[in-house]
């Protein structure tokens, strides 16, 4: 979303990684998240949270990310989630 600050995007990416929606960035290779992966992750998070899956870090999504919650990821390793080769 064009109105988002870099800080908000970073916060969103961190949040999505922390709770299993995005694979964590590889610190060794400096791997970045693709825009497509980020959009899909946001959509997955929105569906899981009961929001409309716009794929954008809109106000409702950011608000949900600020909601107190359990530390455990929503999507687990070894689950049914497809992995990119």
């Amino acid at each position: 979303a064009p109105s988002l600050t870099a800080e908000q995007i970073n916060t969103g990416v961190d949040w999505l990684s922390k709770f299993g929606y995005l694979p964590p960035p590889d610190p060794a290779t400096g791997q970045l998240q693709t825009k497509e992966a980020l959009t899909n992750a946001i959509k997955a998070m929105q569906r899981f949270g009961g929001l409309q899956d716009t794929g954008e870090l809109d106000e409702a999504t950011l608000l949900l990310m600020k909601t107190p919650r359990c530390s455990l990821p929503d999507l687990m390793e070894g689950g049914t989630r497809r992995r990119k080769r």
Binding site: F19, G20, R47, F48, G49, G50, L64, K66, T67, P68, R69, C70, S71, L72, P73, D74, M76, E77, G78, G79
Partner: protein, 443 residues
């Protein structure tokens, strides 16, 4: 690391609160009670059984921690992440549950910024038994905090959470999985939880014994706490050795299932294998799960390989986890794991040097030592020793039951003591003055 959740292969799981919130208004007993009821939510519907223990090796260790607490899931101050639990497994942290001590933990509070500890605990214990997050709006396993869930004593899991728990562990007997409960919730305000005991408001009967001037029938460590039995009554001490109340509780009002005409017990101990509690009286014994007698009891003590005369004392020696029975100068060693009496017994109790031949009872304690009780005195045998320590016997009343020299707390003697103090012009704080009862508060 977080992996796909598994499930417990065992059905009896121990728990303890290792660290309590440091700046919370919730007392230790309230925290423990809320944990008890949050676990009970799950054990009510599955064949899982949870029991609180005092030792260091509980399956579910509960902590209130701040920031980075060395488990890879640092907390982040108020808000944000508030708690987490580890899924079942073989790793040492499996089942452990951590709450962020920076949160304002509340119970029965209107504080909009507080976190209802019971609601969060039910969610986290769902993880501790193997449930992952779900997006279902009615589920307690949604990852986001959704506010209080009401009275812990009346809380009923959403149906889909029950189904997921049943998929892991099956249905507990007496629970119908075909009846979908009415999802409408009452708007009753939550009530303050009580610990599992029945805290009676009925005044003690006239025959209530004076704890400072009696010989006890039985003494036992149960769930890490000490229980002193006399006649139809018992006193209870917390794990920190604080007397819960000066008033004795009535055995039948707490230990449900003992015959009402039972006027005393001979010995009591907590089985190390499944933490069930065994009561002995004469040639019979009863097995309790928590504070309810199991069906099929009483049974004859000969089940243990003991003579029909019964036992004077029973305790589990921390040194070898074996159960020792004492009767009239003899003792037996029993293995609760194999449910067989060890060969070569009974032996003469003189092998326990310095300990009286005829005992009232014995118990282990959380300091690793064994304690032997006879009359108004007790003896301490530390670790794996078989000889009482120097300096014993000591007074049971003075060291365990808040008695001082010449003190008595029976209703009649309370009056006498108080009157005597007044006559002598003393103004020490009395335990019973002007019609008010004074409790011993531990938290």
């Amino acid at each position: 690391t977080i992996t796909t959740p598994s499930k417990w292969s065992k059905r009896h799981l121990s728990w303890r609160v290792r660290t309590f919130p440091k700046e919370s208004r919730l007392g230790h007993d309230t925290v423990r009670a809320l944990m008890y009821y949050a676990l009970k939510v799950w054990s009510d519907i599955t064949p899982l059984n949870f029991h609180e223990v005092a030792g260091t090796d509980a399956d579910i260790q509960i902590d209130f921690s701040k920031a980075d607490h060395n488990d890879g899931y640092p907390f982040d101050g108020p808000g944000g992440t508030v708690a987490h639990a580890f899924f079942p497994g073989d790793h040492h942290t499996a089942g452990d549950t951590h709450f962020d001590d920076d949160e304002a933990w509340i119970f029965r509070s209107t504080d909009a910024h507080g976190m209802d500890l019971f609601a969060v605990a039910v969610h986290e214990f769902g993880h501790a038994i193997g449930l992952a997050h779900t997006s279902a709006t009615e589920s307690i396993m949604r990852p986001y905090y959704q506010g209080p869930v009401g009275d812990p004593l009346k809380y009923d899991l959403p149906y889909q959470d029950k189904v997921r728990a049943w998929q892991l562990y099956g249905v507990r007997e007496s629970v119908s999985h075909t009846i979908r409960p009415d999802v409408t919730r009452t708007a009753d305000p939550p009530v303050l939880p009580e610990l599992p005991e029945n805290r009676s408001t009925v005044p003690p009967a006239r025959d209530a014994p004076d704890r400072c001037n009696i010989h006890f029938d039985a003494v036992a460590q149960i769930r890490g706490e000490a229980f002193f039995f006399k006649g139809k009554y018992f006193w209870r001490l917390t794990r920190e050795k604080h007397l819960v109340s000066l008033r004795p509780a009535q055995i039948h009002r707490f230990w449900r299932g003992l015959p009402l005409n039972l006027d005393s017990v001979d010995a009591v101990y907590e089985r190390p294998v499944d933490h069930k509690i065994v009561f002995f009286k004469g040639d019979k014994y009863w097995v309790f799960k928590d504070n309810n007698a199991e069906e099929g009891y009483p049974r004859p003590v000969t089940d243990f390989g003991l003579p029909l005369a019964g036992v004077d004392a029973a305790f589990v020696w921390a040194h070898n986890e074996k159960t020792y029975f004492f009767k009239d100068g003899q003792y037996w060693r029993y293995d609760d794991h194999t449910r067989q009496m060890d060969l070569g017994y009974p032996k003469d109790t003189v092998l326990w040097k310095g300990v009286p031949t005829f005992l009232d009872d014995a118990m282990r304690w959380s300091d690793g030592a064994s304690y032997f009780f006879k009359g108004k005195e007790y003896w301490r045998v530390k670790d794996s020793d078989v000889e009482a320590e120097e300096g014993y016997p000591r007074s049971i009343g003075r060291d365990w039951l808040l008695c001082t020299e010449m003190q008595s707390d029976s209703p009649a003697s309370d009056i006498n003591t108080t009157e005597t103090r007044f006559r002598q012009g003393q103004h020490h704080e009395s335990r019973s003055e002007n019609g008010y009862e004074v409790c011993s508060c531990t938290s």
